[in-house]
Subunit: 325 residues, 2 copies
């Protein structure tokens, strides 16, 4: 399978390294909106201008779009789905139906296969919510994120006056997780589920009290959480907070029996050193499935919900049944 | 969807109660090889002779087979797959390819859809092994079972002379689980992964030392494990060990990055008060998928690997994307 990497940020670089672990995957090139001469790939994959991607059509089975969900993917995924099989990691949950409709129309018109919202949330976490609800219809779902870096929250801190750099960690509250695991089906507020740890580099002479106050009272991002703010130097940030770990867990607590007398807990937990590299691993597996669906003539937009698990694996049905079932 | 329950043991009773939590599922009847007059269902579902099931054909969309894997299912699933859509929980891992071939031939000949080896292992655990391997190709898998009752091991103890009754719990070794979670990718022997707790009711005057020795040295079942044997009374067994809890976890520990510099752990964990009732929940969701595949003309034998997750859910594609993705 020949893939194109569209966009060379954290996820694009993750796809590049993940491809090396998948012998059936070959990278045709990185396609960038920057000057191709200014981009050097980590493994020597050739770099081309994004606008030239259609010239490479015969060398691409699937394009993996590695742009941002805010402004890039809503435009780029439908545009490319008209000419290529595509996979993206669109993660604005509220706008998924709208994005799906746009990509579905473009993919069907072009006779291509698209998959949106791949990754782990949306993605593997969504899948586990679906499986768990189907198995235990009488129950409650809980999703906890972290401990991990939230790039959106880190960006929000960086926009505060006097802040040079910042890293925000989302941390699940242990007591809440334990109560869910015990099958208590608690009702939890945002504050009871997660706390937020902020590491902030302030400009020389900046008003640290004002910065801390601005963070803690920021609507939606921080005001509903217990938030700690720690000021550190730029050197400390680069030394201790350079990585992008993340993870979390999806739990479903359900009851069965004629009188709900038996409790069950399903827990799916991810502990990730590198959020973008793990996401890239999911995207490659989904690209494999998209390539197969396309070859079978199954066009239009899909999500991870529509993909039979066997299509994600390089193994044959016989091998899967013999080794993994 | 109209289902038939074939066999009324623990799993059959589990399917009966799980059906009550699924408004789209209706039970046509329980089909038994015992005298139907001798079987009373918990919810008043009618009971018929297994040999008469073909008379009810027009009232059955899917037959859920709730027999044993040793002798029942290898015969019954192919036989019924010729005339019905069927789902079973065949769990003899080594014989799955053979069972698949027999059921596939019968189902295709009859134009029906079959699914074998549903449940949690094989089943949800298998699925998590597949997903995790596809996402993290460079890694190692670990499956731990328990803490839970192993019926096969309990039966093995009951066959020892002087034993009236017994319950065997399989228990994961905490140190091994912790090492896997830390990403150490340890190589583990059977003894290092699980220990076995046995609760035994001995006949009056039986030689308890000999019984304990017979258990601990039993090949395959116990000799490779650290095993504890506790003698209790029949009353204690009925009071403290009447339930069938089980569970366990599937872990994959993998590395990503150009030099494998990032570690990741995927963990899927089940904590079940009732093994048969949880298994029944999986079987009902799979029966829903089999019914849909059959209506689409997709015949032959399937496994959980072949089922797009969306087909397990009563929700529509639109609802799933809006609510769960």
């Amino acid at each position: 399978m020949k893939i194109a990497i569209h966009g060379y940020g954290n996820i694009g670089r993750g796809v590049e390294s993940a491809a090396m672990q998948n012998p059936d995957v070959q990278i045709t090139g990185v396609f960038t909106r920057r000057d191709p001469a200014s981009v050097k790939t980590r493994t020597g994959v050739p770099v081309y201008a994004a606008e030239d991607i259609r010239k490479h059509k015969s060398d691409i089975d699937v394009v993996i779009l590695c742009g941002g969900s805010a402004t890039d993917l809503p435009v780029m995924t439908p545009s490319l789905a008209a000419d290529f099989n595509v996979v993206d990691s669109f993660d604005t949950h509220a706008k998924i139906p709208q994005h799906f409709a746009a990509v579905d129309a473009a993919a069907k018109q072009g006779g291509h296969t698209a998959l949106i919202s791949g990754g782990w949330d949306p993605g593997m976490f969504s899948l586990n919510r679906l499986y768990a609800q189907a198995i235990l219809p009488n129950g409650a779902d809980y999703t906890f994120w972290g401990r991990g870096v939230s790039q959106g929250h880190s960006d929000a801190i960086r926009r505060i006056e006097g802040v040079l750099d910042a890293r925000q960690y989302t941390v699940p509250v242990g007591e809440a997780v334990d109560a869910v695991r015990r099958g208590e089906q608690p009702t939890l507020t945002a504050r009871q589920k997660h706390r937020r740890e902020c590491y902030v580099v302030a400009a020389e002479g900046a008003d640290k009290v004002a910065i801390e106050q601005a963070i803690k009272t920021m609507p939606n991002y921080f005001d509903e959480y217990d938030t700690t703010v720690t000021f550190i130097t730029q050197e400390e940030l680069l030394r201790d907070h350079a990585e992008l770990p993340h993870g979390g867990m999806v739990l479903r607590s359900g009851k069965t029996g004629l009188n709900g007398e038996h409790k069950h807990t399903i827990e799916y937990k991810l502990t990730l050193d590198s959020n973008p590299e793990f996401t890239a691993g999911v995207l490659i597996a989904l690209a494999r499935a998209v390539d197969r669906l396309s070859r079978r003539g199954d066009t239009g937009c899909k999500t991870i919900f529509d993909i039979a698990p066997a299509d994600l694996s390089p193994l044959s049905g016989e091998q899967l049944r013999a080794k993994l079932l």
